[in-house]
Amino acid sequence: MEKRIRVLVAKPGLDGHDRGAKVVARALRDAGFEVIYTGLRQTPELITEAALQEDVNVIALSLLSGAHNTIFPKVLELMKAKKMDDVLLIGGGVIPDADIPGLKAAGVAEVFTPGTPTSDIIEFIKANVK
């Protein structure tokens, strides 16, 4: 079986705390995924363009800066413009529970907050990738 699930892991904005993103990246690799790790200081434009070139199945954003209600909608807008409707958008980091329903209504597939086992993320991706 040659097909691999490809995930883009990125940190948008100016938040420099990347330990969580790296932990998730490693867990995804150990689960057999190909992780395109684009690191810090990404913009929604950089993220979606890279996602297109890499033909990823999932975009996973790590946000600890509180800017999630701005960044996620912007990424979703760009994904729509680029016709990336078969790509899952997921997120993690410091995102208050109260904001999660709003994000999901906008199109974020799932949000994984601190304390979530990485296996949950892996199972979710496997179950929902198109």
Partner: protein
Amino acid sequence: MDIVQELLAGSPRALSRAITAIENEYEEAFSIMQKLYPHTGKAHVIGITGPPGAGKSTLTDKLAKKYRENGKTVGIIAVDPTSPFSGGAILGDRIRMNELTMDPGVFIRSMGTRGSLGGLSLKTSDAAKIMDAAGKEIIFIETVGVGQSEVDIVKAADTTIVVLVPGLGDDIQAIKAGILEIGDLFVINKADRDGVERLNMELEMMLDLNQNKVKWRPAVKRTIASRGVGIDELMEKIEEHRTYLQVSGELALRRTQRTQAELLGLLEEQISRRVTAKMKASGELDFLVASIEQRRQDPYSVVAALLDDYLG
């Protein structure tokens, strides 16, 4: 979407999808490559190899930007190792080439080695062909830098650049035999570190001793890629090599060798796959393995018989 049509018309999305189809071995992969093949053979393919941490990605980023300044379109394939245990990979070379993402004249694709024994897979060459067909004039293939991939790169590239850094212990031990023979150009990156002079001298000495029948004597250039130092001079040398390849007829020779290697590699892979699949499906594989294990048969006779059966 008609991937081939849209790719030839310049769609990055189609280019991206085509590479995925080849990598994942979708049904349409065969037909895509068939249709694109006549459009290949135009790009200059530059292989970049060397040990981990040498600065290959940073160097590729700087070279790509220079080529862009000169009006060329660029494709980059960044290869990273796939875990033989999990099948997964962390493809992290893009980080060093971040700014290039927004340049519409550049297309970057990260690929895992995906079980091709640490070497460069045929799929990497195929991805380069796809980028070639899509009109990218310069294509960089940046390899893992361990195992077989360093030597395999020559099978895919017109110009091979070996990137080294000073101070890796006993420098000459770090320069393995294969490396010296495959490099068309050697780059000592991070040239502001201790040990540059010594490494440069040792390289030049080894290259002098290594003179074979080819008329191109590999150059040794120094760069500090992170600061953009030495990039112009390196690019001049790359172009010099390209001219040499064309004028001497070496390019045609290498491409013929490459075509042969690819054809035979593809043939070998497909034969092995088909025979193995048949053996697994019929249960013959398990039977033979047990028989060999119990010394009722030996593997050599078994293979000879199989070949007679399947290939006649």
